[in-house]
């Protein structure tokens, strides 16, 4: 009887230990739903309410600090350190791309998809694809626009590739750096509940550029209206991803600074799109029918002579 009681007590102890140990085991694995009842409960609340989103951010940000400390433990001069930034599977990258193209209103891209596992694969290869897509599409569109002219001789315009590469990689890496520095500075003055690491910001910017790849391909169509509609459409989609990510981070700050920050983010994003359109794609020319003008002058002269 005493032995049975001892056994019972040990089983209970083991179960408790297992339950305490389990969350750690599952949260290290990358995309499993977290088994802690507290987090499950908070995820099942309505996503529309911003306080819950913020609370979700609180729980996750506490845990993400811990997880970030646990994962990247290799010193920065070893190869394994950089391997932690490429710890994604195919379906995860596809999910993140899908989340950047179809933004769900009220859901935060970083919290929903990145979840303390920022990767450098997406940003790097999306930027590389975008560079070559813009260069190739620009070249093709210029070819089709100038096709009928007798004086036109096709040139590959290879220098534009290096210009495109400089622009897009500078945008995808320097703007997140500036934004991260700015957010850190404001964080020291006003205690924000939600804060992002530099890699998470790079990740959001990298994945938000994905929508420009099909946009650049569609820019081959030599119609001004079509091109500008595409610009506005893609700007809305990727801009909304950025706004929904960064609004919770600056919301608690001074109203003007928060609005100025989000406005600057959107403005730079729009500048990139419009700048690429203007530089790499020649304007489609419109034809005016020529004979109308001399006839009009002729009739005016004859009437005046009377």
């Amino acid at each position: 009887m005493a032995a049975a009681d001892d056994l019972k007590f040990q089983e209970f102890d083991d179960a408790a230990n297992l339950l305490a140990a389990n969350p750690d085991a599952t949260t290290i694995s990358i995309d499993e739903p977290v088994e802690i009842p507290k987090n499950q409960h908070s995820r099942q609340q309505e996503p529309g309410r911003e306080e819950d989103d913020e609370l979700l951010g609180t729980d996750d940000s506490d845990k993400t600090e811990l997880l970030a400390g646990q994962k990247k433990s290799a010193p920065f001069w070893t190869f394994e350190y950089y391997q932690t930034f490429f710890d994604v599977d195919t379906y995860q990258v596809l999910d993140r791309i899908k989340g950047s193209v179809f933004p769900v209103p009220g859901k935060n891209f970083v919290r929903l998809y990145i979840r303390s596992n920022p990767d450098l694969y997406g940003p790097f290869w999306i930027c590389a694809t975008l560079v070559f897509t813009i260069a190739v599409s620009g070249n093709l569109s210029n070819f089709f626009i100038h096709l009928g002219k007798p004086t036109y001789h096709y040139v590959p315009e290879f220098r534009k590739v290096s210009i495109a590469a400089t622009t897009i990689y500078a945008y995808a890496w320097l703007v997140p750096l500036a934004l991260w520095g700015f957010l850190m500075w404001r964080n020291s003055k006003v205690m924000n509940i939600v804060s992002y690491s530099f890699l998470e910001i790079v990740c959001v910017y990298g994945y938000s550029l994905f929508i420009y790849i099909p946009t650049a391909i569609l820019w081959i169509i030599p119609q001004k209206v079509v091109r500008w509609v595409l610009v506005v459409f893609s700007l809305c989609l990727s801009g909304s991803v950025l706004v929904m990510t960064f609004w919770p981070a600056v919301r608690d700050d001074n109203r003007r600074i928060a609005l100025a920050t989000v406005g600057t983010i959107l403005l730079l994003h729009a500048l990139l799109a419009v700048g690429c359109l203007a530089y790499f794609f020649d304007a489609p020319e419109l034809d005016f029918p020529a004979p109308i003008i001399p006839a009009h002058n002729g009739t005016t002269v004859t009437t005046k002579s009377h």
Partner: protein, 230 residues
């Protein structure tokens, strides 16, 4: 007893452990030979004494055998095991040379310069290799460079065909022929390199590794297709 066993078996089973002894009384002597994994025929004789022609012919034959492996990709490990970078260098230089002589109104608008082609091929191959290693691939750095470089061979053949077709004329028909040839060779290059490299990747990340290879050969194909002579 252990020391006696050690010295008794040292000559046959464990030559490297011949000098390990537990007892300090028994002196130990013998040769330490570390068993090498593969016993390649090069170690049978010194290659310094052979005529230069033999050395060059051996390397040329190795390069030629790899060319054949690329044109008919099968699951052979010759490309992976004995990597060399002669083939990729020859292919890269010949491709870059053939891409010269394009027309340009100003220097800025023309095709890629020699250095640009060189940098794109080598820098692109290095980045793809780093990418596959960072994603957890088991292939070594130079093996991957070797495979990516050798698989440029179909595209070099396409460039040669394109230049020959352009000698005949630069109209629409020649463009269609060039397009078909370049697309076919692009597919061949990508499939050949994927066949060699895909096995060394973790299974749930294969697409992540194959896509940069696709992009790399697409850029080279684009440079070949848009080549316009003066």
């Amino acid at each position: 007893m252990a020391a006696v066993e050690g010295s008794g078996a040292g000559g046959t089973l464990f030559p490297g452990l011949a000098d390990v002894s537990i007892s300090q009384d028994i002196p130990v002597e013998g040769e330490i030979t570390v068993p090498v994994g593969s016993h390649s025929p090069d170690e049978d004789y010194s290659t310094l004494d052979e005529p230069v022609r033999d050395t060059i012919m051996r390397d040329l034959k190795a390069v030629g055998k790899k060319f054949v492996h690329v044109m008919y990709p099968r699951k052979s490990s010759a490309l992976l095991r004995d990597w060399d970078l002669w083939g990729p260098l020859v292919l890269c230089v010949s491709l870059a040379l053939m891409l010269q002589g394009g027309s340009a109104d100003s220097k800025d608008d023309g095709g890629p310069q020699f250095a640009e082609v060189f940098v794109i091929i080598w820098f692109g191959a290095v980045v793809i290799t780093l990418n596959s290693k960072l994603l957890g691939g088991t292939i070594s750095f130079f093996q991957s460079l070797c495979v990516l470089g050798y698989c440029v061979l179909p595209l070099t053949v396409a460039m040669l065909v394109c230049r020959l077709v352009l000698l005949a004329g630069a109209g629409t028909i020649s463009f269609i022929i060039r397009l078909i040839v370049v697309v076919a060779m692009f597919g061949w290059s990508t499939l050949a390199s994927t066949a060699f490299l895909a096995d060394s990747q973790p299974p749930n990340r294969k697409a992540l590794v194959v896509y940069p290879i696709f992009l790399f050969y697409f850029v080279i194909s684009w440079m070949i297709l848009t080549f316009t002579p003066q």
